[in-house]
Symmetry: C2
Subunit: 344 residues, 2 copies
């Protein structure tokens, strides 16, 4: 642990702790009304399982008995990472900017999922020509850089959205995610390190070794989760934190994506338990450590389809499922409407 | 087992065995082309997990590299069951016809899912005023009744569909499903008996006891799976068999629903291994035995959301996921299109 209390060491993050002290909760009245509505619908109680829970959860956060999915946004943040100098990705850093172009041209997976499931897609590239520093050598970001990225994430959240999907792109960023999880949840580097975009076994070992060196250098300073974010994270991870915090302030529910997105979200949960109550785990990624991370966050993933792409694609699939949940919740007849005999 | 070979005992079903001898397979060329396309798309190989498999599976059965989901039909068959005299359901038989009205009026869960995910819904009530016989006393159907129901299922399949969703409604039909599974897969009645629409523990015990009596009466005749269907099934289960068989003849892929739908499908799989190659397991139902049944069928469910409603709702959710799989498969850019650097 740290000699100086972490919140003293990292005054730059004090404002976030203050904001985390006063988070709006769900609308309990709307939630209760939604639960009552579910019980009145023409099906045995509970027979729609998770679909019922999802609709009621949305009702609570949106503050209306019948939730809407009319205004849906997917935000994808992109950043570059100095740590790729350590050979932690099979792809070159140039791919981040190329994929941003692909997002803008509609050619990426998240573009097609947003079109299929009705979400507006906004891409936020974050200083791609200025990668973060190599975390095995020094802190990935200065306090100003980290604060700036958090602010840009917050500013990207438009008011009035019914739900927000979060995703990311950044060659090297599963290494940041692994280091953050290791620093904030403990365990060994290899517990949190996986193939990412497709490293072979020697590559994964190299990546775990890089995570280990980063933890050796920064771990003592990571009792403050925002300091962990600054030292081990990246701009797109910081932006995700900012977006989650801003969405909470506006009572906009959030669909989290995979390993990198959830590692960023972990910063907030460690800073304040319950900070992610307005967030759903969109899916269980095939990245091996994601299941353990979701468990640490207390999130049960909506989908489990062996995906490991990032970009918000897991959140996108979850949006597709939410559309079904909302359609049945809002549109089904009640036993009274339909004149159907209830249980004997 | 049986003294006389089962296919001799039940000549009424010989035509189905003949049809099962000559089943079209998938288009291997289209499947291979779809796999090649997946490898060319702007993502790490395999990063979309099951979505890739689903799109390629559809491509193979539709015989085109880029599958379509433009013409989608959900067929919901409804039947009534004499076995409810044994106290196996908390709902009265009147609910089957009332739910059929609810389907027609758009008030049921499957109606809302079909609208949300773009499927045309057709309801096929099967002689609701003539319940099958109580299988604890005699065979549920005569050979003519069973053949008629199979034919009506087949005739409901319209040519040219891109995919077919199958569902059912019938108070008492999880008892038929449990009996069919027990007869065709072995084990004890209680291994296959669950709460269905919501029986309490004494109700489940009563239901298992009814299944046990049905197996004692008919089990010796059930080496022929169609004879098991006739004795233990119901009209909606027989219609599902007919629809699956007809869809296969027309190379239309099928999304199966939950426990009852899969128990009906089991008849075909037992009659001819591979008969369900054109079928996907839409979801894992909360009905406890469904997981074991899916494993026996070799089907990995697409969704796992704790649903247990029937009506085709699990297939409906799976259709929603398939829409995402097809959208990314057909619409994503290739590495060459997008000018993105491949792996180093």
């Amino acid at each position: 642990m740290n000699d100086a209390p972490a919140h003293i060491e990292a005054h730059w993050a004090d404002e976030y702790f203050r904001r985390l002290e006063a988070l709006p909760g769900p609308d309990e009245e709307a939630y209760t009304a939604a639960r009552a509505r579910q019980k009145s619908l023409t099906k045995p109680p509970g027979a729609l399982g998770r679909l019922e829970d999802l609709a009621c959860w949305l009702a609570g956060w949106q503050g209306r008995e019948r939730p809407r999915l009319e205004s849906v946004e997917a935000l994808v943040f992109a950043g570059n990472h100095g740590v790729i100098a350590q050979g932690v990705s099979p792809y070159p850093a140039s791919v981040t900017a190329q994929m941003v172009e692909n997002f803008k041209n509609g050619g990426a997976a998240i573009c097609r999922l947003c079109e299929a499931y009705g979400a507006e897609l906004t891409i936020v590239p974050l200083d791609l020509d200025r990668p973060t520093a190599d975390m095995t050598q020094k802190a990935a970001m200065s306090a100003d850089e980290c604060r700036d990225a958090i602010a840009r994430g917050a500013h990207a959240v438009k008011p009035g959205r019914n739900i927000l999907l979060l995703g990311e792109m950044g060659i090297g960023n599963t290494t940041s995610a692994a280091a953050l999880c290791c620093a904030l949840l403990g365990g060994k580097p290899e517990d949190w390190t996986g193939p990412g975009t497709g490293l072979d076994a020697p590559g994964v070992a190299r990546k775990a070794e890089a995570v280990g060196r980063a933890i050796a250098l920064h771990g003592i300073h990571c009792a403050n989760p925002f300091e962990a974010l600054r030292r081990l994270g990246g701009r797109e991870l910081a932006a995700i934190c900012g977006a989650i915090l801003e969405a909470r302030a506006r009572s906009i529910p959030v669909l989290l994506d995979g390993y990198v997105c959830c590692a960023a979200a972990l910063v907030l949960e460690k800073a304040r338990a319950g900070a992610l109550d307005h967030c759903l785990g969109g899916h269980l990624s095939a990245e091996p450590a994601h299941g353990r991370l979701l468990a640490a966050l207390g999130k049960e993933p909506v989908a489990d389809l062996g995906m490991r792409l990032g970009e918000g694609t897991g959140a996108g699939i979850a949006l597709g499922i939410l559309r079904g949940a909302v359609a049945v919740h809002n549109g089904m007849a009640t036993f009274a409407d339909a004149g159907i005999d209830d249980r004997e």
